[in-house]
């Protein structure tokens, strides 16, 4: 059964200073309305591409979005920053109305755009459970029934009668998520709430989410940047790009489509202002052109870094991540080891894996440049220098290399005995 249906949803925003100088536009709108004509500003506006300068004062944050959600389905919505995810979520959760189009639903929608909405610092944890629960749409009786569970899930039993302003930020988030986790709407809309709390709590949160979607058969719309969480929780995704639906279908396909849309340049270059240590250039020396590398051969990562002032404790580290942004390796170099980067100037760092064991597939790099003592972050590159590992010339006769069987191949030494041989020894 289709529980939710979105038809031609669009949302227009005005660029620049909203609020001032809009009286004339308002009057114009009103005048067109009085004469029964269509809003003149709906015909203008451009596709939402953040990076190009606009010629119009109006922009479509999302345009003509159509989709359906089945009862009990977990739908993922992914897209780059500014692709229109948040706008779509705000419309779904009735925080703002669409400019055109409509969404029909057969169930109540509760949204978790941010946990802890409406928490009042002066109220105690228990009072906030009630207030927050009611804001999210629960009745007092429902909250009363679940109060004990909520408190124990949050792990804040000791502090539950203390004002929330005395809580640590982590405790606040735990309590807020606990309230949200016990919501029982027909359709639950979730935005990035998993990116909170420590590792243990995140595990608990993902587990709870899985219970909600799989165990209880609830319909969930899940928006996230975390490709791992999306792939674990959802089986169908919508990829948004510049406000329009770029892809709709199977999660794994969708994630690949999404990552394909990322800036897939083979090397990274920076030409802007250097007012703190910056990575100017990053390339990978692969065994074949176009960042294609043969399994097992030496691979080099070449960083050019500009250090505009004296920095002690410079730390450079990079992770090789797979196409789901899951890190496979992590390598680093500290100034304490080289003691060479204490002065101003441009430096070349060449990191080499003499004998990499990455399995065939697509990879990219995440790079951190920071001060290892003050923890100040100088530079951070996400998903740059995409490269591909192929199993060329590494023939295996019995079976062909299959995709996605693993990420890493370790050399193994086998000792094989027959049972009676051991006994006789």
């Amino acid at each position: 059964m289709i529980i939710l249906k979105a038809q031609n949803i669009s949302k227009q925003y005005r660029l620049g200073l909203v609020g001032t100088g809009t009286i004339s536009d308002d009057l114009k709108r009103w005048w067109y309305g009085v004469r029964g004509k269509e809003d003149p500003f709906l015909t203008v506006g451009e596709v939402n591409d953040r990076s190009t300068k606009s010629n119009s004062d109006y922009v479509w944050a999302i345009k003509d979005i159509n989709f359906e959600v089945k009862q009990g389905e977990v739908l993922g919505i992914i897209g780059k920053n500014g692709a229109g995810k948040s706008t779509l979520l705000k419309i779904l959760s009735r925080v703002t109305a669409p400019t055109t189009g409509e969404i029909k639903t057969k169930g109540r929608i509760a949204s978790l755009l941010e946990v802890g909405t409406g928490f009042h610092p002066e109220l105690t944890g228990r009072e906030n459970i009630y207030l927050n629960g009611a804001i999210l749409g629960m009745t007092k009786a429902e909250i009363q029934n679940k109060e004990e569970e909520i408190v124990s899930f949050s792990g804040c039993e000791r502090y539950v009668d203390t004002p929330v302003k005395r809580y640590s930020s982590g405790m606040r988030v735990r309590l807020a998520f606990a309230v949200a986790a016990f919501l029982e709407p027909d359709i639950l809309v979730i935005d990035e709430v998993l990116a909170v709390g420590d590792a243990e709590f995140q595990k608990k949160a993902i587990g709870k989410m899985q219970d909600i979607s799989k165990g209880d058969g609830r319909t969930v719309i899940f928006v996230s940047h975390d490709m791992n969480a999306v792939s674990v929780l959802t089986n169908r995704v919508i990829v948004l790009k510049n406000g329009i639906v770029d892809f709709e279908g199977d999660t794994d396909e969708g994630i690949k489509e999404y990552l394909k849309g990322e800036n897939k340049q083979l090397r990274y270059e920076y030409h802007g202002l250097v007012n703190k240590p910056k990575i100017l250039n990053l390339e990978i020396e692969t065994s074949l052109p176009n960042n294609i590398h043969e399994f097992g051969k030496e691979i080099k990562f070449i960083f050019e870094i500009d250090i505009p002032y004296i920095v002690e404790n410079l730390a450079l580290s990079f992770q090789v991540v797979d196409e789901f942004n899951v890190p496979i390796t992590h390598s680093w170099v500290f100034d304490a080891d080289t003691q060479k980067t204490r002065n101003k100037g441009k430096y070349l760092f060449i990191g080499s894996y003499p004998n990499p064991k990455l399995y065939m597939g697509n990879y990219s790099l995440i790079v951190h440049l920071s001060n290892s003592r003050t923890k100040e972050k100088f530079d951070f590159l996400d998903s740059v220098c995409h490269f591909k590992i192929q199993m060329m010339k590494t023939v295996r006769s019995e079976y062909h290399w299959q995709k996605n069987t693993c990420k890493y191949i370790e050399k193994v030494e086998w000792l094989t005995y027959k049972n009676d041989e051991i006994e006789s020894n």
Binding site: T105, G118, I135
Partner: protein, 287 residues
Amino acid sequence: MNRKDDDTWLYTISSKRKLIDFNFKEIWRYRDLLMLFVKRDVITVYKQTILGPLWYLIQPLFTALTFTLIFNKVANIDTGSVPPFLFNLAGISVWNYFKTCLTSTSDTFKSNASIFGKVYFPRIILPLSIIISNLLKFGIQLLIFIAFYIYYYSQGANINITSSLIFFPLLVILMGLLGLGLGMIISSLVTKYRDLKFLVTFGVQLLMYLSAVMYPLALMREKLPKVAWLVEYNPVAYIIETARYMLLGEGTIHYYGIVFTIIVTMVILFFGIIIFNRTEKTFIDTV
């Protein structure tokens, strides 16, 4: 999907809006939230203050005292047979209720933008909760009025309760609704035109002088007949005058004035709900 299924949609999210989209069923479903907001407002305001709820009493007492000194002792405004302090206390308590209803509801959208931007509930719950929590404060202030009433009565002051007092609760509700309606109109407009915020703060102050708070309505007619119409067309003035008549037996009761007030309140409330409804759908884009 067949045609029959199409009719079973629970609700539709769209840009089209009905003129009045007042869903009582939904508001009833959120009644617990309403009460929790009231509770929040009442118990958090004076947390970590030494005097706590006593502040509810200190404010009107000192204002009444100041008014008595300035308007009655210095400016010699005649309050008839009623002790001036009691006269002022009645006016101020009633006026304060209207004022706080108006000023706090007129801030609804702006001060709750962070909640409204994250989660949906019928937006009218918040202004309603303000009206109710202020009603509790008004009740406390009424207690202190009663205490002084008894004191003056035992001193032999010429005051008497009229039988019309049974309509006093209706008058309070009328006043709350007037504040709510005006507040909703202002809160909706403030989201777009911030200038109004400044207008409200000093407009409310001016309105007090036009609302017969520290003088009887009849006095205005007598002394300043040329501008008395300003007061006579002010529904708040009738509410305060009527309240004083009910509580103290002083002044006159104007039946046409009351009818006028009821009509004005209903019209303002009606427009308030319409404008509020229009704003609540998209204000988050402009605030």
